[in-house]
Amino acid sequence: MSSPVCTILKREWKAYFNSPVAYVFIVIFLALAGFFTFNVSRFYEAGQASLDRFFFWHPWIYLILVPAVAMRLWAEERRTGTLELLLTFPVTTAQAIAGKFLAAWLFVLLALALTFPVVATAFYLGSPDPGPIITGYIGSALLAGAYLAVGSLTSALTRNQVISFIIAAVIGLFLLLAGFPPVTDFLYQVAPAWVVETVAGFSFSAHFEQMQRGVLDLRDILYFASAMAFMLLATHVTLDNRRTK
């Protein structure tokens, strides 16, 4: 079986590994995750058999690294003119978006899976509760998907990859900080509570935190799923607009 989605997915996957992007991303991701967990959060010294200190950093690492994975998705195709080729094959725009997005997501998930030594360390040193570790990984995977969907949209908006990267990082930062306690505490002083709560409701932070604690709530999953669906739909609209002008 080779549906167009699969064909595009495979091509994109190979494109990551045909360039240094894949290796740079994986090495930096693992190095940063290790550095923050062990050196900044003092994983060993804390003496707790849990991965809180590991997952805590994921939103911040993704904030910088995931837009770098997503920025080439559409911007590169537009710059080189291959978008015209891709979209005049017998495929729908939705299939092209799905193939590209899934390739990028699987790629980030590969990097995430390679953090398994951290889990192994925790189990070697103590006996952590596996529940929060599993939900933490699920949450981290969904979080990465949401960041990627944002990056897909910003990549479709421009043929300049640098601009795509910056806008994606800024949107990501907003979605992160909107629910970040130091920021919300400040906002409560300047805006009505319902405004702050509405804005905070859009934030990645609260939903991801729930999952780190081991709570797998359908609402959090729905939140991430709808964030991805919305961004990919916006990608579709953006690509269609380019054709209509």
Partner: protein, 265 residues
């Protein structure tokens, strides 16, 4: 088939007699505005089986825009286009199944080898296994790419890259071929090769190609459309145009009078 019935009657009953809808392009009143600028204004034509249509015009006349609307890459401001009886706007996937397209500047994925790129195109067209391998092998040979099949496309010269993209367009043996400046930027030998490929395929396909090289039109086209400032200013055979003077003169005469409204793309 849900081909528009009115298309059938106007087709010449030649080789494809019983099923004339099998080889067709029809374009009806295509208009494209970019903001306030009209790039294409009211272009209509039909291309029948066995015809090689040369699409001529100065730079910025609307050739590429028209071709992009036929392939469905650009949505027209108004008007419609059909490939093989399938409305490009309503049935884009079906229409494109019957289409081979060489976009302007022959884009391809530079990080892939020629063979990987053609495998990708074959998979996108739904070919797998032995059939895909056979088609790729044949196409490589036909486009004289066999010797570079394992090279990354970005390391190849312009002529090879052009033919690689060309190969992608003919891999699935489509009944309709649209080629946007297939010989642009090639050296005389490479031009000769590409022209011969077009002529070889002409017998059983509908081919539309754009160019601004006039002798190319005389050499391979059965019909020429001259477009200027977004409008069709001539639709005839090269021989017929010839009667009014050299093709050069006719081209200049037809396209400079309307050029006041035209501008660079």
């Amino acid at each position: 088939m849900n081909a528009a019935p009115e298309l059938w009657s106007i087709t010449a009953f030649g080789e494809w007699g019983g099923r004339p809808e099998l080889r067709m392009i029809k374009v009806s009143k295509l208009v494209k505005n970019f903001g306030s600028r009209a790039a294409v204004r009211d272009v209509s034509f039909e291309v029948n089986p066995g015809e090689v249509l040369g699409f001529l015009g100065p730079n910025g006349a609307g050739k590429t825009t028209t071709m992009r609307m036929i392939t469905g890459y650009l949505t027209p401001s108004s008007g419609r286009a059909w490939i093989q009886g399938f409305d490009v706007a309503e049935k884009p996937v079906e229409a494109r199944r019957h289409l081979g397209y060489l976009p302007e500047n022959a884009p391809s994925y530079g990080d892939m080898t020629v063979e990987e790129f053609l495998s990708f195109a074959a998979a996108m067209r739904g070919f797998a296994g032995k059939e895909a391998r056979q088609r790729i092998g044949e196409t490589l040979e036909r486009c004289i790419l066999t010797s570079v099949r394992h090279q990354p496309i970005e390391t190849l010269s312009k002529g090879y890259r052009q033919r690689t993209c060309f190969a992608q367009a003919i891999l699935h043996d489509p009944p309709v071929l649209i080629l946007d400046e297939p010989t642009e930027g090639l050296d005389p030998n490479q031009k000769f090769v590409v022209r011969n490929m077009i002529r070889d395929m002409a017998k059983n396909k509908v081919i539309v190609f754009s160019t601004h090289i006039l002798e190319e039109v005389e050499a391979i086209c059965t019909r020429a459309i001259i477009i200027s400032a977004g409008q069709v200013v001539a639709d005839s055979t090269p021989a017929e145009l010839r009667k009014q003077g050299s093709l050069d003169q006719v081209f200049r005469w037809l396209t400079t009078s309307a050029d006041i409204g035209g501008s660079a793309r």
